[in-house]
Symmetry: none
Subunit: 413 residues, 2 copies
Amino acid sequence: MIVEIISTGTELLLGHIVNTNTPFLSQQLNRLGFDVLYHSTVGDNKKRMKQVLSTALQRANIIITSGGLGPTQGDITKEVTAELLDLPLFLDGDSAKNIKMFFDKRQLAMPENNLRQAMMPVGAIIIKNECGTAPGVIIEQNSNIIIHLPGPPRELEWMFEYAVVPYLNKRFALQGIIISKILHTYGIGESSLEDKIKDFIISQSNPTIALLAGKDGVIVRLTAKSDTTVNAEHLIAGLEKQLRPRIADYIWGLDNDTIEANIGKILTQKQLTIALAESCTGGLVTSRITDISGSSNYLMGSIICYTNRIKTDFIGVPSQIIMDHGAVSHQTALLLATNIRQKFTATIGMGITGIAGPNGATPTKPVGTVFIAIDGPLGIQCKKYTFNGQRTDIKYRISQAALHMLRQYTLSL
Amino acid sequence: MIVEIISTGTELLLGHIVNTNTPFLSQQLNRLGFDVLYHSTVGDNKKRMKQVLSTALQRANIIITSGGLGPTQGDITKEVTAELLDLPLFLDGDSAKNIKMFFDKRQLAMPENNLRQAMMPVGAIIIKNECGTAPGVIIEQNSNIIIHLPGPPRELEWMFEYAVVPYLNKRFALQGIIISKILHTYGIGESSLEDKIKDFIISQSNPTIALLAGKDGVIVRLTAKSDTTVNAEHLIAGLEKQLRPRIADYIWGLDNDTIEANIGKILTQKQLTIALAESCTGGLVTSRITDISGSSNYLMGSIICYTNRIKTDFIGVPSQIIMDHGAVSHQTALLLATNIRQKFTATIGMGITGIAGPNGATPTKPVGTVFIAIDGPLGIQCKKYTFNGQRTDIKYRISQAALHMLRQYTLSL
């Protein structure tokens, strides 16, 4: 069953709002086993909306629209469909009553134009709106199904879940189930990752493999289609078992995992504590660690040592070291890690010093140079990285590198 | 000039990512005076992508695609266009060289499949990618223009701004000019703001006034259309002069201003320095301050005092105070501000202590309660706020409140 999702509304074409209805509907429909193959957006214009609907009727079995069911003259979705399919509109008594009740409950007078929302194409299945005034509409004609949903996300999501899903389940009892599993990687680029598993990517049709480069690393998405959830999961597990040995070094999480949450789990499980001395990241790493509820159980605290004086007077990095090697150096990073660990009596200390840019580069240390050190029960280690990008990109990439280093270190403990 | 924006990528059809490229392109193109009338999305499938492109060629003058320029087998946008328009592809030497350099700079070996990105349709205008490896492409054929941009937002936005806009400006010298000016507000809701300037919103048609609630406060956007930039700016200046007196207390910046940058300017100008003691925000406020290049001139450093022991032993908040009043209290916030100021010898000290949630609430202090204190040459002040939302939302809202408090304080200095 091929699905097209059509979003209507001039505000979308102006770019004034981000469309979240389409990803929501796409996710839900894919999960139910439908093939969403097209998304379209068109403004509140009769002629163009009719064209877009016509195209969709030719290439999709199910068309779901969002928006254009409101009370104003600009809300034309139902009229356009009715004209296109040659269905007369009539005033639906029940819908009119519900709309009136919506206003009565709020002790408001119903504006006359709200009755437009009760005008329905003959033969349509009408969906009551529990969160607003615009009813939804399902029209079956020949081999096509058109479903009109309101634009406000809360109303659309509610209506989809409580009325459209049950309808589709009943109407297409035999749809398969589609399930995805995500493997998060770090430390490898998209094309190198593809090289490692290219034979699978080419030969696999169910499950399929997709690579996607995001700001937190490349993700590998395995998607399987089957008759039941158990069978789809089984297909994914089989493929994952074959893929894993090739890329195990890079995988750090699954599905909705975040690196901050993963670290939190490890530190909690192993009863470890941490303290940080951050220079160039300005507190970003600590802030990310504290995005996790319960982080007060393992984070002692941090010092953001943005000036050399704080590094020397409060974290005890001798000024001679800074003079000899620079504030951005192996030596300084190591002392930051060791001293903050001791000072804040944490199991693990981390020191970060680098050049976020755009100023501050030296001939041997370009913008993006950073030294990250960890001290703990396993001993001390320090890595040098060079990152590219704008200042805030560099800060973020350093924080990623620091969190992944921390994960590796604590895993070995 | 009618524009259609086509997003490509199966991940969009699966609903795994929200499409932010399309609203970005729509906004920019509308601002330049183009009519964006259609958005479409299609997966990485040759046949269907060809159909969608064919439809677009019939109804739009300019087609802008995003995505599908990467190095993998799934990246097919250029091939599809070349086939559809019957243009052979050739290996562009310059593009190949740039891609190679991209890897060399990072001291990485270039995977062979990255050369796919240098394959170009004959006769195309090639756009160099300064932020990644995929070059962009502009193809003029008959009355149509097809522009292929990469999918990663940073690359797409950069390329649009620095290559596509100049191209369109030159190619369509006669478009009208649309200019917007943004007034940033803080501390007032969307409907209260609307109430204050409703008469203008209703009566104005050029410039128009739009209110938009974002995570950094409500913005007021004034948009004027005219034959020249000067005339459009003149229209906006006239309206702004009338609006300002009504909402001056809430306006803190213009256009691309950020609160972090504004504070940086004030601190630099007035030669002030700052130090922070952050508890519940976990370093977020300091990290935001350090997003600004040059912040090392005014930020001394911070202590993230996530445990009571750090508050007492390192910032000198007497444990009796914490026992009597709680770590989340007026008293603690004031001492954090005063002591960090003194300890780090800064002009201004800031203390932040609160409950980010979801745990840690008490009967008198619900989740979202926070005390923010500032100490400096004007004396000491402390404000209590209560914010709603998820943990990370609350952290962000506290950081906003803290930065705006800091702005107010330093402005009066």
